[in-house]
Symmetry: D2
Subunit: 349 residues, 4 copies
């Protein structure tokens, strides 16, 4: 009899769902026992993602058809908005189930902020109150004890790992943070959009959602927590002609110290972390170093403008930026080794 | 008898040289009568760049073998350092020849700054004194009268077209400019380097020369001229997995006005320009819009941080960022229509 | 008063329509006076294709709203099936108008073959009888005299330019032709399909429509004409992670001669052609050489299997494979210089 | 005390060496105890391949400095020619060591063929006599017993897995095989070559080594073994703008049967194989399905030409095409589970 944890994945036909399958299918302590995708119900997973031809996976079903009582945890890769209602239904059916939500639905603690950015009142505010923000490195104990974890967005993960320890240590001016962010195209999901067609996104570079991206309030919330005050940041994303990978170039004003002080603070903050690596002085992070892996790399550089510095962070948006971090949190929630199933090295080239 | 201007291209085996050939071969008032490439001397151009198979071009020769007296102008795409000596020799042989230099050798007016960034004393300081900085939109009259034009770097062209009118109009704080720059791989030239191999640069994103890129002093020089004071800027370049195209996201602090004021200033500055286009409010510039063309597109956006704005500019680094701007200047120097040979529309997709 | 030909483009929101705009906007003897795109009616062209920001173009309208009597020619980039009915309507409104159809609707002469491959009876068989197959190099005189030209598909153009002169000269066995074809992603159009998303098509290589691609009967028709007998060929297309470009590697059995004989036959066939270039022995065609241009390059190679040879042909699927060839034919129909507006050199890199 | 096998990697600064590190670093029964790279001796591996920043690896040394007596096996990713002399020296120092050679040096059994294709007499013909050809699926028992295994080339692995069972079963005419092969750019290695620069290989498609590629004799050798007679094949490779992945489209003439018979023969041949998967009728293999993994996918399709069929096979050239297959063979030689360390699923997207 298997003692592996039984995991369901909601929204398995999207990229984050698929990356959860890729990782969980080789996880030593987990087995995938339910996969949902309402528009593909009845299909084999390999029809929707043919790179799973070698796996023996459950068929895709509608989420309403899943027997939640047999599951230990659910990873949820559904779009925001519908997620909150579905998760409420799942928890009603099986209150003991662990939920790793990869959508935006439970990330914002302030319900007004949520309503303002998402255009409607939150439909499960109680669950929102229960949810723990799943940035593993900063909320480890609370995650381990949680039932519902709101895994952070990909950009917030990259930006916050770079900036939170600096804000906490009062090393930077939190009112003057510019985050120039760059993402591969998987960040936009598998839905059909003109701007993510190969011939539109390829051989070109496009800024998007300038001043209006929904990851802004999430970043501001957590930097605000670290700084102890409300914060507004600049966050400007750009679409890069690559599939995976995300890089944040954060421009910060120093509160007296130097770039070396920032680096030292980050080294101290992450010295025991399995997945966050602070690069030595002069070493440049690049997304190639983390592609397909759960690792994050951060570098700090002096600016030519006195009293300013540059912090560069990279991750794979589908792994540490989504499915990988969800599994890292799941491991914590089950008391498994935190890195179980997540030690793949970056695929380079 | 042809009345076309006779043009020589020095360094025709590089990407900027090749793009000059592409444009001049279809220029109504020019003909290419000399092509040099010392390491490929004796070869046909189509052996070095096979996409010229349909053209009847002069053979590649060593630059020492060219008879400069038969030429009206020279476009120089040689590496910095050697350029200054070769151009001195060319002008000694034919003092009436027009020089369009696409290298960095004559761009910096201050000889100490040059020595500091390039590691040696300038070897042709008198010519440097004569050289006109070839940013067409700001130095048109002086270019038209010049013998030696130092065409700007690709990044400076993109950054300065976005920022100079704003600095001139005192709309921004020139001591707080952050320029996050992104370039396609041709910006690194055709030389063999590991980081520009397909399998290294592809599917990835790398910052480089953080705080140390040689285009910084050039940008600072010209913003300084516009502002009437010495300026230090942040300039942080990133390598993007595409061949052509450059985008500068410039983060600026406002001197009282709004993003709309910045846009209005740029619209006013460029209203008669054939190649610089200020996007309407809400329209996002992207490199796809200018690939292969001499056009520049600039957009202005409000920042969520009060009193800040974002200015985004795009160009093709090999055209308006190099060979195209050189030809635009050449047209001015010969009294030809400024846009002659340069009206190709972007190749999209 | 302008003496330029007045041109309308049907289906201007697709890639072939857009490339027709790119080329016609700089054509010395043409002006674009109507653009249709029913799903985008009312928009400016620059909203649909932002790289046209510098052009002053007519607004997009529904095709039913165009006044055909004011037009000299129409380039039609609509999907097959609907095209035949729309063109019939256009010609009814203005019988003197020249039609350059870039769809598949009028390419197949045999109405049974059409019905078999396209799943319905042809709805304008009379027009089909009038239409001239627009492979410029083989039907030049008939095109010049035609009212309705069915421009060939991109693959057929590449394959037929490589193979027809060889079939005509009986140099190859037409019953043993294998055409391994590779295309960039624009070949699939701008419609939203999962397999042409950046993250699906990028960093990967997929065969498609193996044994069932609709360009097969078109290739067979024309090789059959050349050979004087019905022909069945192998035609196997593959999707390549690039936007533009097409390469056919044709494997042929020799009828006694050698690869050099094939090359000599092609050189003879194309010696006066402005856009078809036969590469010298040993020179390898590549799509990079023709990107964005109307040129075709063909190379011939000996096979290690005795009595076999390899013929490689490349073109840009949107130019010589579509809009460029349409304009080349249009020039012929108006008695203009055949290469007018088409002499752009490939954009490389 | 560790009971892991101690592995050395020769040529660790190349792509195959690096992929061996990626896989062995997570192999449950192996540890990397020596890494050589003569041109980078003294450096940390993470200086040469920064994506290994999270690993604790031995420093790079010159191969002459390694103490071979402490090693259980060596994976050799050196260039051909020098490999044979170095392996001879390694085996002289430690005759019990297992050698997995990923170069071409020991693949060809006929020394005349070797001399003809590689331009010099073989310098270790005795070892060549001892070497076992490492195509796991066909030589499993001999590999398990071998000391020196010559791992096949990437193209031969893809082509032979598709064709050998068909040749053995006399289902195809071995004198009429056309293999149109396509490879990502890593197939050309990490050496600096102009044609593998991003801006040269990107957005384009190039055939190369037409009729002269050194993988031809290797393919012919093994199809010859299967068929029981000397064989000449057409093998025509093309460079595809992607980093990893290889696809062979093999065109074959049937000996009476059908495409379905071919598929059935392949299914039978590979029914117990952990890494070779025959796709169901109608399912198209694509390189995306195997990127980063040791899996191979093969599909069979009917041709429109009677009596012909198309066999399509895909693999990752650096995994099953090189380092992965070497480790699979190493597992056999040590009596470990054959799939140990190799079960990563393809990274898609």
């Amino acid at each position: 009899m298997s003692t592996k944890k039984k995991i369901g994945i909601l929204g398995a036909s999207g990229y984050t769902g698929a990356d959860a399958v890729r990782l969980l299918a080789r996880h030593p302590n987990a087995e995938i026992t339910a996969l949902t995708a309402n528009t593909h119900a009845g299909k084999a997973m390999a029809e929707v993602f043919p790179h799973f031809f070698m796996l023996d996976l459950p068929k895709l079903v509608e989420w309403e058809k899943v027997d939640w009582t047999g599951l230990d945890a659910v990873l949820c890769g559904l779009p925001h908005g519908t997620t909150q209602e579905i998760i409420a239904a799942v928890l009603a059916a099986n209150p003991a189930i662990k939920i790793l939500d990869m959508s935006a639905d439970f990330r914002l603690r302030d319900m007004n902020t949520y309503a303002q950015w998402y255009g409607h009142e939150h439909r499960a505010p109680k669950l929102q109150g229960e949810a723990v923000y799943g940035l593993t490195e900063f909320y480890r104990e609370r995650i381990a004890a949680a039932r519902l974890v709101a895994c952070p967005g990909c950009y917030p993960t990259a930006a916050l790992l770079a900036l939170v320890p600096l804000a906490k240590a009062k090393l930077i001016d939190v009112d003057d943070i510019v985050i120039d962010a760059k993402s591969g195209v998987t960040g936009a999901g598998r839905g059909l959009k003109q701007n993510t067609l190969f011939s539109e996104a390829g051989e070109g570079l496009s800024p998007y959602s300038v001043g209006t991206h929904r990851h802004s309030p999430e970043i501001e919330q957590e930097i605000g927590v670290a700084a102890g005050s409300a914060v507004t940041v600049n966050f400007t994303p750009h679409l890069i002609p690559m599939s995976r990978g995300e890089l944040c170039t954060s421009y910060v004003k120093l509160s007296g110290g130097s770039a070396d002080d920032l680096r030292a603070a980050l080294v101290a903050a992450y010295k025991d972390e399995p997945f966050v690596h602070v690069a030595k002085k002069g070493v440049l992070p690049q997304t190639q170093n983390v592609r397909g892996s759960n690792y994050v790399q951060i570098g700090v550089f002096a600016d030519r403008i006195k009293n300013r510095a540059i912090v560069i962070s990279v991750l794979d948006n589908l792994v540490k930026g989504s499915a990988g971090q969800a599994i890292q949190n799941m491991n914590l929630m089950f008391g498994l080794p935190e890195a179980a199933g997540l030690e793949q090295i970056a695929l380079f080239p």
